[in-house]
Symmetry: C2
Subunit: 170 residues, 2 copies
DNA sequence: ATAATACGTCAGTTATGTTGACACAGTCAC
DNA sequence: GTGACTGTGTCAACATAACTGACGTATTAT
């Protein structure tokens, strides 16, 4: 019988490697969201508001349905958060012209300013990480994260320019 | 005056690049947690339970304080979740020998089985992404995620073997 | 002996999500 | 044009996972 202690076990190494990946994602995400969360709570807002502000800023004229598809929450959940943001003057809605049932969402100047402040820390983090890691590592980072996503969502991020991305999801 | 339309703006490209990073993290995390969440809800558990099960499995004999430091939640929040898991027989606590105030946490056989099931999908995702991306990309992925984390948390993941990691955090 | 730590618990609150039901306006297919 | 479907909003009730603040007990450290 082989001595189990001295045996190199590729399955174990593989498992350890995958677990490190799981943890890395957890810790990075935890630290990535901590600062914006703290800023938001001072304004009486939460992470959910940040997500809406972010994606409306990213996809101007996005519709409610498109936003729901990105966030993967119910319209009732979105409604509360979106209502807060409209009431506080961060977002405006106007009727769609192509389809008048749609409400096209856009940041106000005030909304853009908040978005800038909230994402600044996150952009700084990523910028620092990219700079320290180098271009090749950045490419690997992107490739692996895309690989972790559901396959059907990948194209949207790869090809389409950001303003059209959400729309193309239909 | 320079024609703004034909000018290549490195600041804009940089911003676009960073935003892609932010989104990639959001989408990957969203898809990464979706399946375990669905499994958990069938058992009357939530993502918070998964995190506890995961880290207790990862760091056997972890103490409550150490777990709190990883999760970054209050002990009152942890208490409810941990209580559920103990009551349902997924986790056992015993008194520490070195310090009898401590409660050392460990998965039961049942807990290990649940952990395995929950993380299976996540490990498969990461394994697939790693395989498709290649070793170099994996290295880049890890480097960038470490760079995104708060600097003071990096060592813990780099050097220490997993069972000691949490303990060393003190 | 006193202070600090590890853990637990009670009570109340907030943020963010869920289901289900219903309404209305506008678009599409026939 | 009528009927079906779609986009949006809203009401109500509920679940989960976090929070703050206060207090208690056992144990360890100074």
């Amino acid at each position: 019988m082989t001595d189990i202690k001295t045996m190199v076990n590729p399955l174990f190494l593989r498992e350890e490697e995958l677990r490190r990946g799981i943890e890395l994602l957890f810790y990075a995400y935890r630290d990535f969201t901590a600062e914006p969360d703290a800023m938001l709570s001072r304004l009486g807002l939460g992470r959910a508001h940040h997500r809406v502000i972010y994606f409306v800023g990213r996809h101007p004229e996005i519709t409610v349905t498109e936003l729901l598809r990105i966030l993967r929450i119910t319209k009732q959940s979105l409604s509360r958060v979106l209502g807060d943001l409209v009431r506080k003057g961060y977002i405006v809605q106007r009727q769609g012209t192509r389809d008048r049932r749609q409400r096209l969402l856009e940041l106000t100047e005030r909304g853009r300013e908040l978005e800038r402040q909230l994402s600044e820390n996150q952009r700084r983090r990523i910028a620092r990480a990219y700079r320290e890691a180098g271009a090749e590592a950045v490419e690997g980072f992107r490739t692996v994260l895309l690989g972790i996503m559901d396959p059907e969502n990948r194209q949207l991020l790869l090809s389409a320019p950001p303003e059209r991305t959400a729309r193309a999801a239909r």
